[in-house]
């Protein structure tokens, strides 16, 4: 069964991007004879000898005359294993907007570097944009290896320089391949000129890249796109909610909540296109969902699960890339925002900074022009139901549309709900974080009751304080005696509990203290929210998962709680009568088998030091 792979390419002018794509198409036999014929005659007309492979991917005439590609062009080719879509974007300084466009749907980014020229400012920019757009896989092709004598030393040099830069970005998967697009080394077939390179050729790497797990199958979301009501014949009373699933899984029988109304009901049928009944449907499928109750649901509403809802708010923090050449973004201007299937008016409340995409420096700004990227605070007329972009590209992305020209003027990636309420002015203290004697962060221990969170936390705190680093434990049980004394254990109360602890931890971290949170915090969404609160203020946050199996935790039962829960005396007890959602990508995972409390604390301290050095 063949699957789609969407590729975005980037490279500075003359790095050989067009040649590389031409080579991929040519060697995988995706170029037809008549196309090759046209390329050959054009090559001859321009005084080249053999066919210039770059011409295959060059599009419009004006561009061909200038000898450069200037917009996103899409190419298709297939091997027996996979179908590939390449969004070919040019790498010139002025075309950030095109790269962002091509990258928005890509599974993998191919970045080209000329082996002679090494890592350029533009290469860094391409890598940054790929990470900003959340492309899960990055392949760095070091091209023109033929011109550096296929030197391993040169390749290694470029690799370490690039890797050092990439470590500052969020790049989940980074691969380096030495190639010669012109000669065909390591593009489709493995090169004999570089026996020192042991990895696969580019094409095989792309064929085998695992992307199915990049889909978010956790947070169940479907923005309602279109309501199907035939109002005739056999289907007189039929009502189906059509849309593309933006996350998670829907099955008949599932309990769902509709936002913004918050009504809950059950899924009766999940159907694919044409009415095919499905037992389940996952992110990416276009479906029609039928519900048990007749509710007032329209386009722009969102279906989700009761215990895992998106954030709903009118105040949103986001990174945006400005894409219009005539207008500039400024604070207090108003646009139409298109987010999932919802559109509403939005005003820009604050432009917090402009990001220099070459140095990653954040500078003050009063406006943004074409190809500039900045962080903004938005206020929408109707609430948006979103997840942070990092977590879900479909529910975390939006575009801004100018109300006069109807042009798409910006692309946006949501960071989270604004921390600043419009009515509360934030007083920025005179002392900056760097000026404090110590730098803080938050260690968030999550796991079942009895998993060993507190024991490890206590040991970590002891060692940090002994080493002169202020640290303080925020223990879930203890906080429930004071700050959170009136909160219970329903999902809503747990959410509020987590939010408060996260806010307190953030303040401590900001003050230079290592806040050590020891809290069952069973829901992923709540922990993500805690992380977002920290990330919004650029404070380090480490999610530490005490991965102790239920039977071991229950056997310990240090507080006698499991026995009571089993006896039905404690309702909503995590692990027994309430769910625990294990972290998918914790920063650190600790298992009983890894060692005693002292050893585990040592592992944590190592991570703290590592994070502190960043």
């Amino acid at each position: 069964m063949s699957q789609l792979l969407r590729i975005a390419t980037a490279g500075s002018v003359d790095d050989g991007k067009s040649t590389l794509i031409g080579r991929l198409l040519f060697d995988s036999l995706a170029i037809m004879e008549d196309q090759l014929g046209a390329v050959e005659s054009a090559s001859v007309a321009r005084g080249h000898e053999g066919p210039d492979l770059a011409l295959i991917t060059d599009g419009l005439r004006a561009e061909r005359e200038q000898g450069i590609t200037i917009d996103v062009a899409y190419r298709y080719f297939a091997t027996p294993k996979r179908k590939f879509i390449i969004a070919d974007t040019p790498g010139h300084v002025q075309y950030t907007r095109n790269m962002v466009t091509g990258a928005s749907t890509a599974d993998v980014a191919l970045i080209l570097i000329d082996a002679r020229r090494g890592v350029l400012e533009q290469s860094r920019r391409h890598a940054f944009l790929a990470s900003l757009l959340g492309i899960p896989h990055l392949v760095l092709c070091v091209n023109k290896m033929d011109l550096v004598d296929y030197s391993q030393e040169r390749f290694d040099e470029i690799r370490s320089e690039f890797a050092a830069f990439a470590s500052k970005l969020e790049v989940p998967d980074l691969t380096f391949i030495p190639v010669s697009a012109l000669a065909g080394d390591n593009v489709v077939t493995v090169s004999t000129a570089m026996p020192w390179y042991e990895g696969p050729a580019l094409l095989r790497h792309l064929e085998e890249l695992h992307v199915a797990s990049d889909r978010n199958l956790i947070d169940t979301r479907m923005p309602v796109q279109y309501v199907i009501r035939p109002q005739r014949g056999d289907f007189h009373d039929y009502r189906g909610y059509a849309g593309t699933i933006a996350g998670g899984v829907f099955r008949p029988g599932d309990e769902v909540v509709v936002l913004p109304s918050r009504f809950s009901t059950k899924v009766t049928h999940v159907r694919g296109p044409g009415g095919t009944e499905l037992d389940e449907a996952i992110a990416g499928q276009a479906v029609t969902i039928e519900l048990a109750d007749d509710l007032d649901i329209s386009r722009g509403d969102m279906l989700c699960r009761p215990n895992n809802r998106p954030t709903s708010t009118q105040d949103v923090d986001a990174m945006i890339c400005w894409m219009d050449s005539d207008l500039r973004l400024s604070t207090d201007s108003t646009y139409t925002i298109l987010h999932t299937t919802r559109d509403t008016r939005v005003s820009v409340k604050d432009l917090e900074y402009r990001l220099d995409i070459n140095t990653l420096h954040r500078g003050e700004a009063v406006d943004l022009g074409l190809n500039e990227i900045g962080r903004v605070r938005l206020r929408t007329q109707k609430p948006l139901h979103f997840d942070p972009y990092r977590r879900n590209r479909d529910t975390g992305s939006f575009i801004l549309i100018d109300e006069a020209t109807h042009n798409t003027v910006a692309a946006g990636m949501i960071l989270g709900a604004s921390q600043h309420d419009a009515n509360i002015v934030w007083h920025s203290g005179a002392v900056t974080r760097e000026q404090r004697r110590t730098q803080g962060m938050t260690l968030w221990f999550t796991g079942l009751s009895g998993s060993g969170k507190s024991s490890v936390a206590v040991e970590v705190e002891r060692r940090l304080v002994a080493a002169g680093q202020p640290a303080y434990i925020l223990d879930g049980d203890n906080l429930r005696h004071g700050l959170n004394s009136h909160l219970g254990f329903s999902p809503e109360d747990r959410q509020e509990n987590v939010r408060r602890v996260a806010e307190v931890a953030k303040l401590m971290a900001d003050a230079g203290v290592v806040a050590i949170v020891s809290l069952v915090s069973p829901y992923r969404a709540h922990r993500e929210a805690a992380r977002a609160i920290h990330e919004a203020d650029a404070l380090p946050f480490l999610e530490i998962f005490m991965d102790t199996p239920l039977d071991i935790a229950e056997a310990r039962d240090s507080k006698g709680l499991y026995a009571k829960a089993r006896a039905g005396e404690i309702p909503d007890f995590t692990g027994i009568s309430a769910p625990y959602e294990a972290p998918l990508r914790p920063d650190l995972m600790l298992r009983p088998a890894d060692g005693d409390v002292g050893t585990l604390a040592g592992i944590v301290i190592d991570r703290v030091e590592e994070a502190g050095e960043r």
Partner: protein, 303 residues
């Protein structure tokens, strides 16, 4: 949790197209689907029907009729439109010729592909269509490779390749003023092989011309052209019988066929998978005129 679902490339392409149909129906007033009876438009209609099930397709179809069609295709067109219970609007090139809005090039039997643009734009204007679905694919031609899925046309129906709206994620911006319109291409990311694989998977009916059959042809400019009321052998051309099929179906005066034994969907899929020449290169005289032929016609308002 455990998931059984795995999406194939055709599943993903289908989902994308269905999403696009629903998005247009939900956000743009008075859409219409361009329907010629050719395979891409048949696949488009099939997808539209699936997108809105069990409701009927919520927009009419329009055929830009050059008046120089294969009779089988027109019959097929009418049968299909009736089966889906749709309204058919015909924008007739002959009407425009008769009214003097366009002048035929190359005499009465010259190719009318270039003239279609006028009739298309008139059809859009008279019916005040806000969006028109076209079956064009990006793999067909270089100029198409840069086209957006939602392609904005100004009040003269013109495309400005330098000034296209950025298109990100699956967020499509179809906003326009009265008089302007959107061209929407749900099959943008499909290739000829995808189209045929889908036709096989869904068992979609097509005009018989797409399958191998015997007919009288002449060879002209390296292409095989069917001898019919529009194409007569010229001096020096020797008509002969051949087993052929059409890879595209356009104006009968300029659409060529290829020699083929592929008489079933399966056989065509196998043939297309092995093909070494593009479908337009093989069979469309109109695209051969110049390397930039398509781009120029698109700027004027052609699909």
């Amino acid at each position: 949790m455990f998931y059984l679902t795995e999406l194939t490339d055709l599943d993903e392409l289908e989902a994308e197209a269905v999403h696009i149909f629903r998005e247009v129906a939900a956000t743009i007033e008075r859409p219409a689907l361009l329907f010629s009876g050719g395979k891409d438009s048949v696949v488009m209609l099939h997808l539209a029907a699936k997108a809105f099930w069990p409701a009927p397709v919520p927009f009419p179809v329009m055929h830009v009729d050059t008046g120089q069609n294969f009779a089988e295709v027109i019959e097929f067109r009418d049968r299909t439109v009736e089966r889906f219970g749709l309204r058919l609007i015909v924008a007739s090139v002959q009407d425009d010729i008769d009214a003097g809005r366009v002048v035929e090039i190359g005499g009465p039997l010259g190719p009318r592909n270039k003239l279609q643009t006028v009739s298309l734009l008139r059809g859009i204007k008279e019916n005040r269509f806000g969006a028109v679905f076209g079956g064009a694919r990006r793999d067909e031609e270089k100029a198409r490779a840069k086209e957006r899925v939602f392609s904005f046309r100004d009040e003269f129906g013109q495309w400005d390749p330098k000034n296209q709206r950025p298109e990100l994620w699956s967020l499509y911006n179809g906003r326009h003023r009265t008089g302007e319109n959107m061209r929407v291409f749900p099959l943008s990311n499909w290739t000829e092989l995808d189209i045929w694989s889908y036709i096989r998977q869904e068992e979609i009916d097509l005009p018989d011309l797409y399958y191998a059959h015997t007919r009288t042809v002449v060879e002209r400019d390296g292409m095989l052209l069917a001898v019919n009321e529009f194409i007569q052998p010229q001096p020096g051309e020797e008509p002969f019988e051949a087993t052929v099929r059409f890879r595209t179906i356009g104006d009968a005066t300029c659409t060529g066929c290829v020699e083929s034994q592929a008489a079933t969907r399966e056989a065509v899929v196998a043939e297309v998978a092995a093909a070494r020449v593009t479908e337009r290169g093989a069979t469309r005289a109109d695209d051969r005129v110049s390397e930039a032929g398509m781009e120029d016609r698109k700027k004027e308002g052609y699909f």
